[in-house]
């Protein structure tokens, strides 16, 4: 369960209402729900996803992620454990520059101290599914934008997250590949993962109908 009530966020410490990036956001998404996150550039989509990923904490309002109340007084170890259950595909991918594609994808499982045998099985399956087998030893700088994006997608889903946050996860992919990826994210939500996908791609939205969260200038308009 994801629940936000009256959440506000702005850059810097001082509240400056006119320039707040997110204003009075309230929403509730049940476990296993799928939501599109739509809105023009600069509306605050990435900021909202970063907030849900707890890369920043709300300046005001209440936030509940996967059943846990989040605030400035939350224990750091609690937040770390929650993050291990959240998959995030950043708009700028955020791959580990020193690691190969395979090691980047394996990272969440390594942090959970899974057995190496199990890890390589999961990694190989995803590499195969995303067409990255030949690039598995390459470093992020050696990859095309689409390859980087597919690596980021694989890293976000490999530990079967309870919450998946995807920030324009298909903008560097071909249409057919994009559709496959969104199809997989839909399947994940059918299996119980809550999925939120920010996108500009109207064709995809029409092809995979789902409730949408509309952001405009930091305000949320839900059309369900």
């Amino acid at each position: 369960m994801i629940r936000l009530r009256d959440v506000t966020w702005h850059h810097g410490a001082l509240p400056n209402e006119g320039q707040a990036t997110l204003r009075n956001i309230s929403l509730a998404i049940p476990q296993g729900g799928f939501r599109w996150l739509l809105g023009p550039s600069g509306a605050g989509k990435s900021t909202l996803l970063r907030l849900l990923h707890m890369e920043a904490l709300p300046r005001s309002g209440d936030m509940e992620i996967l059943g846990t109340e989040i605030g400035s007084r939350s224990k750091r170890s609690t937040l770390a454990r929650l993050r291990q259950r959240i998959g995030m595909i950043h708009q700028d991918f955020r791959l580990m520059p020193t690691l190969s594609v395979a090691d980047n994808i394996a990272l969440p499982l390594r942090l959970q101290k899974r057995m190496e045998g199990e890890i390589s099985q999961e990694v190989d399956a995803l590499l195969d599914w995303l067409g990255l087998v030949e690039r598995k030893k390459a470093r992020p700088v050696e990859l095309s934008g689409g390859e980087q994006q597919r690596t980021a997608i694989a890293r976000a889903v490999i530990m079967r997250p309870s919450l998946l946050l995807a920030d324009e996860p298909t903008n560097a992919l071909e249409d057919s590949q994009a559709a496959r990826v969104i199809g997989m994210l839909r399947e994940l939500s059918d299996l119980g993962t809550t999925v939120i996908v920010a996108t500009h791609n109207d064709t995809l939205v029409q092809r995979f109908p789902a409730p949408a969260l509309q952001l405009r200038q930091g305000r949320l308009f839900a059309d369900e």
Partner: protein
């Protein structure tokens, strides 16, 4: 340390930290600590020995030395000083007896009486008694002496001894302070190196944090690398300190009552070093010194570990 199984979490710490400068600095600190510690142990053992020496020297003052002794058992017609000397000669634990002659008394009293000479004054006779180590003048003996020659003073050198102890304690305190200071500077250097490593891995650390790595995990990764480097530095510094320390203990041996030094004039430094190292190896150095030196790499390792832990955990606080 994960030397065999590389941790593939992207931190690549073997290339993130200023390895060589950290190692060199920690080695230099360890060398300083080792030398300071050796000096402290040396000063301690010398002062102990001198204090023991002071305790072994006792002065006995006999007033009116030329009068006849009081007791009837010594009515052989001698003087009090002869009777006292006779009694002392029969006592156990005494290595040497020496009655100060007039010139020695003059020299002793000069600071108080000037050059006027002592002949005019009714001075007591002074006997220096050299006791075996640990030996004492029994109370019985002292009371016998005062009976033979009333007013006899037996003066133990307790003042001396306590002053020596004070000096030794002050020296130890200074050495402790110096070691603590060097340790603190070392921690600061290690802290700065850790901070530098964090700076160069800022992106990777942030990504790990976002993937759910705990503060403990990241801190542990940095701390074990830093501790490993500190250990190497500590080991290197301590090893480098061994030759000078071996020479020092070798040279000090005759003063602190250990194996006599076999050094001769004109001996080359190389052969001195060789002899010193051999003696050191064979146990010429006090055990407390060896234990202390052996602890240095481990203490430095601990300092490195804790410093890195604190620095990393504080740095991570900027990420929610």
């Amino acid at each position: 340390m994960n030397k065999h199984k590389r941790v593939r979490d992207g931190l690549a710490l073997s290339r993130a930290l200023p390895d060589r400068s950290l190692l060199t600095m920690v080695a230099a600190m360890s060398l300083l600590i080792a030398l300071t510690f050796t000096a402290a142990v040396g000063a301690q053992s010398l002062s102990e020995r001198w204090a023991r020496g002071a305790a072994n020297l006792i002065t006995v003052q006999v007033p009116d030395p030329d009068k006849t002794p009081v007791t009837d058992s010594h009515t052989t017609g001698g003087t009090r000083i002869e009777a006292v000397l006779g009694t002392l000669k029969t006592a156990p634990d005494i290595v040497q007896l020496h009655r100060l002659d007039e010139q020695e008394l003059d020299a002793l009293l000069k600071p108080w009486l000037g050059n006027t000479g002592t002949a005019a004054l009714p001075l007591p006779a002074v006997i220096e008694v050299d006791l075996t180590p640990g030996g004492v003048l029994s109370d019985d003996l002292v009371s016998t002496l005062t009976t033979i020659a009333p007013g006899t003073l037996v003066e133990k050198n307790d003042d001396w001894r306590s002053q020596l102890h004070t000096v030794a304690r002050s020296l130890l305190f200074c050495a402790g302070l110096a070691i603590a200071l060097v340790g603190t500077i070392g921690a600061a250097v290690i802290g700065m190196a850790t901070r530098l490593g964090l700076g160069s891995r800022r992106e990777s650390v942030t990504i790990l944090h976002e993937l759910g790595a705990s503060d403990g995990y990241v801190a542990r990764r940095f701390a074990s690398r830093v501790a490993f480097l500190s250990f190497l530095g500590g080991l290197a510094g301590t090893l480098v300190s061994l030759p000078p320390i071996a020479i020092l203990t070798h040279l000090m041996a005759p003063f602190s009552g250990n194996i006599p030094s076999t050094m001769q004039n004109g001996e080359s430094w190389l052969s001195i070093l060789k002899a010193s190292l051999i003696a050191f190896w064979q146990g010429a150095a006090p055990q407390s010194l060896l234990i202390g030196l052996g602890c240095i790499p481990f203490v430095v390792t601990l300092i490195g570990w804790f410093t890195a832990q604190v620095i990393v955990r504080v740095w991570l606080r900027r990420l929610p």
